[in-house]
Amino acid sequence: MSLTNSLRPGGRNGLARKESRDPIGYAVAALNVVAQSDLIDRLGLRKKTEQAVFTSTRGGFSVVTKAGRTFAKRGAQKPGVRVPSAGASGVFDLTPTEDEQMLVDVVGEFATEVVRPAATEADEACEAPVALLKSSLEIGLPILGVPEKLGGISEERSAVAGALVAEALARGDMGLAVATLAPGAVATAISLWGTDAQQATYLPAFTGDDVPAAALALSEPTALFDVLQPGATAVRRGDRYVLNGVKAGVPRGGDAELFVVGASLEGKPVLFLVEAGTAGVRVEADPSMGVRAATLSKLHLTDVEVPADAVLGETDGSTYVECVRLSRLAWCALAVGTAQAVLDYVTPYVKEREAFGEPIAHRQSVAFMVANIAIELQAMRLVTYKAASRAAQGKDFAREVALARNLCASKGMQIGLDGVQLLGGHGFVKEHPVERWYRDLRALGVMEGGVLV
């Protein structure tokens, strides 16, 4: 980076564009550049530890994507296998089915025994441990939404099971939950909307032993991003589409072998299957405030050519909108899990922590914060479950998922804030996990894509 470039006014370092530098500002900035130079290091003027900042993940990788495997084309151009909607139940009921409960128990144990202990380090490293990812495959996370006929475990629409699993995982850690759920989002999308050929080409990889990392890429790095009008474009050229644009918030970008990418085609939002090895695909690390264990990345698409049959689902926008809704639903379930983690953590803390000679829990101002966390959390959970059950039953769930997202974004963030506040200074330091949950819960209302139920 040249000196002049780094001093260009506005737009960088969190400066709005109208900011300008006066002469003193230039002098200070120049000093800063000197301070960053290697020279003082060679002179031994800086503590070695400061260099730790420039680790590979934090400083950012920017690579042509992993060559990845080649997915051999199979199957026919006809509709794929679909699982039926869950039977409509006429009974108001908050009890999961036996199968769902078993799944939740298994995933819950995994979250407690494996995910939570790995969370701090994964957050630091911006990477999920390989062993953890591997064991997440063993419990069948990626094939939850894949039809039984195609080697998965889904006999009917599994949005409720998906939500319960996401919640249970995020109670362990949201970042690792996203990392482990990301391939399943792609497998579920292909199961829901793929043609016979797309299912035959891609799903065997997910149901086999060597499950590829994969990611659903819908967000983009622009303020006021409207997910329904992606800036990324797809243009028909002969029997191919050419994709251009930048996607953001893409989990596990570095090792993903397959992406489902949202792009505008003739004014309509459409999903495209893009293999990581395709020319013009580049991934850049984009470490964010939270959900860091998911290795959030930007996906650059420059004149990426994909075949005509790379379109996933309809081109009229209907598949895309459903995808957005199901993805938001998954994020809501993640928020419920993380908010539950906050409640679980602050409850014993405020009973043990003493001030003025008694536990702080004995004070209403503290106790009422805990009460409100519990109340809003349960409201978030019920609204999310309602949206999930409607999705599973094949009912319109646009309204319910919108309300769930709204509630989970605002109340989830409040719970994150209150979690830190209840621990006071202890909440602000990394000795306790609440600061991570605070960062993770801000993902709600921000993230689109990445996960899906």
């Binding site: 089915t97 805990v370 349960q378 646009a398």
Partner: protein, 403 residues
């Protein structure tokens, strides 16, 4: 199987309640808001119709007495019973008019209290009565364990002395369920409830309050002076069980709080439904798929209100569902009331704000709903009492530890 839709078996009931609310309550809503203290005679016919529906079983057990935890056969299946039917139909009626719902003959909170704690003999004897509820006193509100009204056993009668305020339908009802202490020195365990029938010597209605909202519903001050009540009108057990403490009397609240939460849910939905329409007329359509920040501020606000409302409604249904399925629901009942009470106020007040002078004016009902909703965050336990209950339950603290 997780499913949070209106139960199939209650759909007809809910539709019916909606039609009644729309066609009977709304047309007289403003009339009785203005004519405070005049008896809404239209309700007599409606009450008779509701009695008929209850007799025929078409009401699914809904109503003030729907909260009784009777010993029905347990087939191991998930039940959608009278508690759920009650909260859903009450919400619909309050979508019509909360004040009028509270004035509905034979549907008083006293009826819920009787249904909650009466023995079978009492249940039969008080069948058909319209019972009001008298707990609060001039010096005692949320700390209901501190009530000063006394009941002294004298032969086969209890002699009641004291002053009760804020008795909903206290003048119109046939009887009043009164909380009184058998022995103040024994604390909350000595508090019992008594059914005092109208016309009993020594009981008189002192005056009716003028109120902010629910003006169709009378709120009475009742004085008891050496009022002699038959001993068999004491609800539940006359024993003072210090170990069991307050639980008996307080159990009523586990049943009535979801009902009040349902009132807030119904009243708030009235505001949302009308505001959605008025916003549409003003050119604002709420889009559930587009991010809220890309819509108008009014639409974004509306989305937030609707989301809060959905949470309140489902918490209310959860509490009732648990009662139907015989699960302890004190925590969930208080959660529902806390959430519904506060969002009821936020929603109705925000809707007035969104609609400007149209919302503020008496030409629409929005301002009325914003007045009616406030009481729902106060009676049957204020917002703060609900938070206290939830906090104690979540934190596992006693009332001595968390005051």
């Amino acid at each position: 199987m997780i499913n949070l839709e209106t139960p199939k078996k209650h759909r007809a009931l809910v539709d019916q309640a909606h039609q009644v609310a729309m066609n009977m309550l709304r047309p007289i809503s403003r009339k009785y808001d203005r004519a405070e203290h005049s008896y809404p005679k239209e309700l007599d016919m409606l009450a008779a119709m509701i009695d008929g529906l209850s007799e025929s079983g078409a009401a699914e057990g809904a109503g003030a007495t729907g909260v009784r935890r009777d010993e029905q056969k347990d087939d191991g299946g998930v039940r959608n019973g009278s508690n759920l039917a009650s909260v859903m139909s009450i919400a619909e009626m309050c979508w019509g008019d909360t004040g009028l719902l509270l004035s509905m003959p034979r549907q008083g909170l006293g009826n819920s209290a009787i249904a909650s704690v009466a023995n079978e003999e009492q249940l039969e004897r008080f069948k058909g009565t319209w019972a009001a509820m008298a707990i609060t006193e001039p010096g005692v509100g949320s700390d209901s364990a501190n009530i000063t009204t006394t009941a002294r056993l004298d032969g086969d009668h209890y002699v009641i002395n004291g002053e009760k305020i804020y008795v909903t339908s206290g003048d119109r009802a046939d009887s009043v369920v009164v909380w009184a202490t058998l022995d103040k020195s024994l604390g909350r365990a000595a508090i019992k409830s008594f059914v005092v029938e109208k016309g009993t010597p020594g009981m008189r209605v002192e005056r009716l309050e003028h109120k902010l909202g629910i003006r169709a519903s009378d709120t009475a001050v009742i004085i008891f002076e050496d009022c002699r009540v038959p001993a068999e009108n004491l609800l539940g057990s006359p024993e003072v069980d210090v170990k069991q403490g307050f639980a008996g009397a307080m159990a009523t609240f586990d049943n009535t709080r979801p009902l009040v939460a349902a009132m807030a849910v119904g009243c708030a939905r009235a505001s949302l439904d009308l505001t959605r329409d008025l916003l549409a007329q003003a050119g604002v359509e709420v889009d559930h798929d587009r991010p809220a920040h890309l819509q108008s501020a009014a639409a974004a606000k509306f989305l937030q209100l609707e989301a809060d409302w959905e949470g309140a409604q489902l918490l209310t249904m959860q509490a009732a569902w648990m009662a139907d399925n015989r699960k302890p629901n004190s925590l969930e009942a208080s959660m529902a009331k806390a959430k519904a009470g506060r969002v009821g106020s936020d929603i109705t007040l925000s809707c007035v704000e969104l609609c400007g002078t149209l919302g503020y004016s008496e030409s629409e009902l929005l301002e009325k709903w914003a007045r009616d909703s406030k009481i729902l965050d106060i009676f049957e336990g204020t917002q703060q009492i609900q938070q206290l209950i939830v906090a104690r339950r979540i934190l596992g603290l006693s009332s001595a530890q968390l005051k």
